[in-house]
């Protein structure tokens, strides 16, 4: 039991860190850009200054920038230094982790577009009301500190951005990140394995409230949250619970709450939090019935929240080995690359923190060269800052094409994964089959998004073929977990058949 209580939370923390890597590193980069390129006055202008546009503008920027609720923390610290109003900061904090182009595309394809637009509008209502109340009750929370000194042009400006990011990575932001990850660990201690599988049923009045409670300490990347929302729609779960999960699960974590308490005090945070929960719940109960998908037969359970609970069933003999195996499954090449960047950046940050406490490097970076070449015009730093932020947004849009490869490529991958799963199920190689099933499921969803991304139309026929394959995969997964030999073989055959039909249905899209 003690092994479960140690390895379970540790695994969940490591998984959250791995999932957050791209958006976390982006957050530190954006913090550096805001301080060294954009500067504080330009940042205030970007976030609407003191005008009424501040909150909607913060919401719009949050929708576009690809960061998560952990990656947003260093940005919040910069916005606070820049003197952006509290309402706008909190609006950005809540919205930035909810959506990015990849997750919106995913949601639009796999859930009902009306629902995704409604959820986006709902998040705007939440941040506008809560941010507006904050600015009204607590005016003047946006107090600017001194403008950071200008950095010399050229490569030094780029270095200065990196230095800010490195110092942040090993500075106070690290503490808030740790608190955020501890929230994930805490949830896995409190929630036994699979306990949330039946907690979000349609018609269950307590579902949105329960989900709101669980979602605050939970951590979800934008794409994870959208996957969960899509899965809830597939299983006919409570729409209100899905909304609460998206806004609070992706939008908040304990690290962010800790930052708020430290910056604004416990009382103000409690007031903000109370309003936030109240409005989210009001909207969640409001949309629960009107947006419930028609024609979806409730499955009676969902696996969308298994990732928040203890990863192991009670009685597991060797949780350390199981934890390592689960972690190893996630360490693919891109993840290892990002982990290496994080590791190097952390070492760099520590060297700066302890080797250059007097900030000699920053002084050198701020020292402008005396001469410059006539044909080497210097662009103003804010221009570079805006270009960098726009570039990040553009990169995340183009990233969609990498994240969702062409239909033909996905069909080939599906074929290969199908062979792994079916063969493993027939030969009783349980762990191997169970290892590949999540990838299989994920590829079927990417297949659907890829069709839409490349200008195709997803027909009802194609939707059903993908859905049936996922249903059968889930059945197979259950049988594999229960080590049911005959049933596993039967469902493996069903999966094989469904795969053949799926390929036939999507082949015309691959030929386009």
């Amino acid at each position: 039991m003690s092994g479960l209580l140690f390895w379970g939370p540790l695994l969940r923390m490591a998984e959250a860190l791995i999932l957050s890597l791209p958006t976390l590193l982006t957050g530190f980069l954006v913090a550096g850009v805001l301080r060294r390129l954009l500067g504080y006055s330009a940042t205030r202008r970007l976030f609407g200054g003191d005008s009424w546009r501040a909150i909607p503008q913060a919401w719009a920027l949050g929708m576009l920038l690809p960061v998560c609720s952990l990656g947003v923390i260093p940005i919040l610290r910069e916005l606070r230094r820049a003197g952006v109003s509290g309402g706008a900061i909190l609006a950005f904090a809540l919205t930035a982790p909810l959506f990015n182009p990849i997750s919106i595309l995913y949601g639009l394809t796999l859930a009902d577009p009306v629902v995704i637009f409604s959820f986006s509008a709902g998040s705007l209502v939440v941040v506008t009301v809560v941010g507006g109340i904050w600015d009204w009750w607590y005016p003047g929370t946006g107090q600017s500190t001194d403008e950071p000194p200008q950095v010399a042009w050229g490569i030094k400006r780029m270095l200065a951005v990196a230095v800010v990011a490195l110092r942040e990575l090993t500075g106070p932001s690290l503490g808030y990140l740790a608190i955020g990850l501890l929230g994930v660990a805490l949830l896995s201690v409190v929630l036994p394995h699979g306990v949330l599988q039946t907690s979000a049923e349609a018609g269950d009045l307590s579902a949105p409230l329960l989900m709101s409670c669980v979602a605050v300490p939970a951590y979800a990347t934008p794409i994870t949250a959208m996957t969960q929302v899509a899965s809830m729609f597939q299983h006919g779960n409570s729409v209100g619970a899905a909304f609460a999960l998206l806004v609070l699960g992706a939008g908040t974590n304990l690290g962010m709450v800790a930052w708020m308490v430290r910056q604004y005090g416990g009382r103000r945070t409690a007031v903000w939090f109370g309003w936030l929960m109240g409005i989210v719940l009001l909207l969640a109960y409001g949309v629960d019935r009107p947006l419930h998908p028609t024609g979806v037969e409730p499955a009676g359970h969902t696996h969308a929240f298994d990732g928040y609970c203890c990863p192991f069933q009670t009685g597991l003999v060797n949780p350390a080995s199981a934890a390592w195996q689960a972690l190893d499954d996630r360490l693919d090449r891109p993840t290892l690359f990002l982990l290496a960047i994080l590791g190097l950046a952390s070492v760099g940050g520590l060297l700066l923190r302890y080797g250059d406490n007097a900030a000699r490097l920053e002084r050198w970076l701020e020292h402008a060269p005396e001469q410059r070449l006539r044909l080497d015009p210097v662009l103003p730093a804010p221009v570079l800052g805006v270009v960098t932020l726009a570039g990040l947004i553009a990169a995340s849009v183009f990233g969609c094409y990498l994240y969702y490869p062409p239909v033909g490529d996905i069909l080939e991958d599906l074929h290969a994964v199908n062979a792994q799963v079916v063969t493993a199920a027939h030969t009783r190689d349980w762990e191997h089959a169970l290892h590949w099933i999540p990838y299989y499921d994920d590829w079927t969803r990417k297949l659907q998004v890829s069709v839409v991304l490349r200008g195709g139309r997803l027909s009802d026929y194609q939707r059903w073929k993908a859905r049936l394959l996922r249903d059968k995969l889930e059945r197979l997964e259950h049988e594999l977990e229960d080590r049911e030999v005959e049933e596993a073989r039967r469902w493996a055959t069903e999966v094989q058949r469904a795969q053949r039909r799926l390929s036939a249905a999507y082949r015309p899209a691959a030929a386009r």
Binding site: I179, G183, A258, R262, G265, G300, H478
Partner: protein
């Protein structure tokens, strides 16, 4: 200057930590009170309603039987579902069962459209299945009677639609004969009276 500008925090780290711990305690208490944290559960299982046909041809065959019973206004035997409730459930399953066959896209679209037309016939929205293998929820007798009446009034049209479905099912069965060994076995055999199911 390592940290060029600092915004003064409103409270100490210890106070902030205390507040966060209080928040967590509050959320856990709330979740416990509302029934979330009941302790470990068994893995949720998929179960199918007993009256769910095993495949598309079986669904069409069952619709034919139910159609005859509805036109004859035969009462449901004890322990059996009201025929209109079962009929509605089977119609609802048609697109899924047809998608789980080798029907090509065009005939599948026809099945989907025919199922929509059939569903519109009885004019009464019935709560059909409870999900997760639950039996259909209770349908008020007067509502079921109204639905049966509406169905009988459009019996001829319903019969024609079911025959179109039957033609599609037969075409599929002829084009893709399934070997006996590969035939899908149901989780639970569909409820049926002796001699009714072909």
């Amino acid at each position: 200057m390592a940290e060029p500008t600092r915004s003064p925090p409103s409270c100490s780290l210890a106070t902030a930590t205390r507040h966060v711990v209080c928040l967590v305690a509050f959320l856990v208490t709330l979740a416990t009170v509302t029934g979330c944290l009941r302790g470990p559960q068994e893995e949720a299982e998929h179960e199918e309603p007993a009256h769910r046909p095993i495949d598309f041809p079986a669904a069409v065959a069952r619709l034919r039987v139910l159609h005859e019973r509805l036109l004859a206004d035969a009462p449901a035997a004890s322990g059996e579902l009201d025929p209109i409730v079962e009929w509605s459930a089977v119609v609802g399953w048609l697109p899924e069962l047809a998608a789980d066959s080798d029907l090509a896209e065009t005939p599948w679209n026809q099945v989907r459209d025919l199922a929509r037309d059939l569903a519109a016939l009885n004019g009464v929205a019935l709560p059909l299945t409870g999900g997760n293998g639950a039996e259909p929820t209770e349908v008020p007798a007067d509502e079921a009677a109204r639905a049966r009446g509406a169905y009988r009034a459009s019996g001829e049209r319903a019969g024609a639609l079911i025959e179109q479905l039957a033609a599609l099912a037969e075409r599929e069965a002829a084009a893709f004969p399934r070997p006996v060994s590969a035939a899908r076995q149901p989780h639970h055999p569909p409820r049926q009276s002796a001699g009714e199911q072909p």
